[in-house]
């Protein structure tokens, strides 16, 4: 249990008022139009959405999983967070292409790239999936805050789950994405200062850098300082084959769209940037901060490791960074640290509240239910959508312990079988809506079979996650490539319009020739 002094309360109350106030201040801008409520009017300089990218991907549960892998594997565990590398490539490839499409969401993009019934089916499916996924992420992150508050104050987890998300909903409901991005900027700064400060303090508390190195040598664990310390090429639980898979997923994934779960919030930030150049740099800089942040955390976790070696239960060491802060910081700074945790939490919650509402409003309500809705009505639907997501997240959060395994499986649907189609839809003109739809449908079937059913019947051994990825990708390709080739290509009018507007890279020669013939290039 942690006890707050006056100064601790001062930090906490001041920061919470600032964070919520700064978001709510933009009420007038947020209510102007759908584009303002969801994209801040497409007018932000790169550093604002960049801070939002960074703040969104710094959640309450993030230091827990970084602690989990670094405590277990040392600095090599940092590679677990390196899937963010997709942004390094995307910033100069798919980010530019997506920004030029002007689509509010990845669901809307489907109807710009594809035509006819498959495009509409894809838009509806992606929108529905994203509403569910954002609600799930809100529940996931919310219950992590519940755990932190239980650890700190002994509160029942539901208080941490509901109280802070409700606080956050105040400015998201009022100002939409304007509130999200303005609060994220401030929260990102607070969170980064706290991460630098607490990590340096944690290293100091563990005896300083040289002491940590000496202790690791004395324990015979020098390999924990080696970022390339793997357990063989394919053997052990941290092999080189996993590392290569992760690099391929991350780096080649940047050529496509929706190849990583983070693509969806990033897509919103890309469209909120005022120019194509601002979009590219916001994605690049935001994720550069994320990988740097992981490194700061990793150093602190090694400090925790030498202070508390030999912990075997994940629940004991996943709180490492929080424990370093709360157990070693001086009186008066605890409140500052907790305020930073609140900032970390609110920035993620606000993003997913607003992002889920984009899909509910723009893709489901506006496109399918009421295409003639005026701007005022659309903003109100956005607010109702935000509220539905908030309430749904409480339900998910309260049953998270029971459903986590199932939902992690559900996330495979996003990652494995649709990773390659996510690239092909950007780089290959002939890939069509039927092919992409088939990839989604059959990935659902194949992932179920490969992860659960076939191992249960002894038909297939229990594969490691990276092996599952390659198998699911191969099985998916055996379906979506024939489906693509045996169905008609998208109409040339559709493809030419898409090409001229977005200028994708890769195999687009027939479309380019047609665009040139029509005098459009």
């Amino acid at each position: 249990m942690v006890h707050f002094a006056f100064l601790d309360w001062f930090w906490l109350v001041t920061f919470v008022v600032l964070m919520i106030g700064s978001g709510a201040l933009f009420y007038r801008l947020g209510k102007r139009s759908e584009a303002d409520f969801f994209l801040a009017g497409r007018g932000l300089p790169w550093w604002l959405p960049a801070s939002s990218v960074y703040a969104t991907h710094t959640a309450t549960d993030t230091p827990m999983w970084v602690a989990g892998v670094v405590y277990k594997y040392g600095l090599a565990g940092m590679w677990y967070g390196f899937f963010a590398a997709w942004c390094a490539v995307s910033a100069f490839v798919s980010t530019k292409i997506f920004r030029r499409s002007l689509a509010y969401s990845q669901a809307e993009w489907q109807t710009l790239r594809y035509g006819g019934m498959p495009a509409e089916l894809l838009r509806g499916w992606v929108a529905g999936w994203q509403v569910f996924l954002n609600m799930f992420i809100l529940g996931w992150v919310g219950i992590a805050m519940g755990k932190v508050c239980h650890f700190l104050f002994g509160w029942p987890p539901w208080i941490g789950l509901t109280f802070f998300s409700t606080l956050c909903a105040v400015y998201v409901l009022a100002a939409g994405y304007w509130g999200v991005v303005m609060a994220d900027f401030q929260q990102g700064i607070i969170a980064f200062i706290a991460i630098v400060f607490v990590s340096l303090w944690g290293v100091h508390a563990a005896g300083g850098p040289h002491m940590i190195i000496d202790k690791l040598h004395a324990m015979g664990l020098s390999s924990m300082l080696n970022p390339f310390s793997f357990t063989g090429f394919a053997g052990g639980d941290f092999p080189v084959a996993w590392f290569i898979t992760m690099l391929v997923i991350g780096i080649l994934g940047g050529l496509g769209m929706a190849t990583a779960i983070d693509w969806f919030p990033e897509a919103q930030r890309i469209q909120s940037a005022r120019t194509v150049k601002d979009a590219s740099w916001c994605i690049w800089a935001g994720q550069a901060l994320v990988v740097t942040r992981n490194a700061l955390w990793a150093a602190a976790i090694l400090g925790f490791f030498v202070l508390y070696p030999g912990l075997t239960q994940v629940k004991d060491y996943e709180m490492a960074w929080f424990r370093l802060g709360f157990e070693t910081l001086p009186v008066g700074m605890i409140g500052f640290f907790f305020a930073a945790i609140v900032a970390i939490h609110l920035s993620t919650i606000s993003t997913h509240l607003n992002l889920g509402a984009v899909y509910l409003t723009r893709d489901l309500y506006h496109h399918y239910i009421n295409p003639g809705a005026d701007e005022r009505k659309l903003v109100w639907v956005g607010r109702v959508g935000t509220l539905i997501l908030l309430l749904g997240s409480f339900v998910f959060g309260s049953i998270m312990e029971n459903i986590t395994e199932w939902l992690i499986f559900a996330l495979w649907i996003m990652a494995a079988g649709v990773w390659l189609p996510g690239i092909l839809q950007v780089v290959w003109w002939r890939f069509n809506g039927w092919g992409y739809l088939a990839a989604w449908v059959f990935n659902l079937v194949f992932s179920w079979l490969v992860v659960w059913v076939l191992p249960a019947f002894g038909v297939l051994p229990h594969l490691k996650d990276y092996q599952q990825f390659w198998l699911l990708m191969l099985l998916g390709a055996l379906v979506f490539i024939p489906v693509t080739l045996f169905t008609k290509a998208e109409s040339m009018d559709k493809l030419v319009k898409f090409y001229v507007m977005s200028r994708p890279i890769g195999w687009w020669a027939p479309v380019r020739r047609e665009a040139e013939r029509r005098g459009l290039l």
Binding site: L75, M78, F82, A84, A85, A88, V89, A91, F92, V93, K96, R100, L102, A103, E108, T111, L112, S199, L200, V203, P209, H210, I212, I213, L225, P227, G250, I251, G254, T275, V276, K277, D278, S280, W281, W284, Q287, A288, V291, T292, N294, A295, L296, A298, A299, L302, R362, H366, H367, P371, G372, M501, R503, I505
Partner: protein, 96 residues
């Protein structure tokens, strides 16, 4: 014209060129160097400072190479954006 081109017309900048390839290759390398350099620097290891410095230098080189091209793409595209947005709104309302 040198190996790296820094003056672009919007139409030329829309094409994929050597500058894009260099940026796409350098970019993940910069991420790796920043991550490893920061972690090792936290332990005051000299390798960490060297890697971090290399990451920062390569980042500046990457910006120097690709930023003029991105500026030109943006300049050309922003002129057409208003028309594209009107088209997008017609599509969401099923008018197109």
């Amino acid at each position: 014209m040198g190996f790296i081109r820094r003056q672009w017309m919007p139409k030329e900048a829309d094409e994929w060129t050597r500058e894009d390839t260099i940026a796409v290759v350098l970019s993940p390398i910069v991420y790796i160097l920043l991550m490893l350099g920061t972690a090792l620097s936290m332990f005051l290891m000299w390798q960490g400072f060297v890697i971090l410095a290399a990451g920062v230098i390569l980042m500046l080189v990457m910006i120097w190479i690709i930023n003029p091209k991105l500026s030109s793409i943006s300049e050309g595209y922003e002129k057409k954006q208003k028309g594209y947005i009107e088209e997008l709104e017609r599509k969401v309302k099923w008018e197109e």
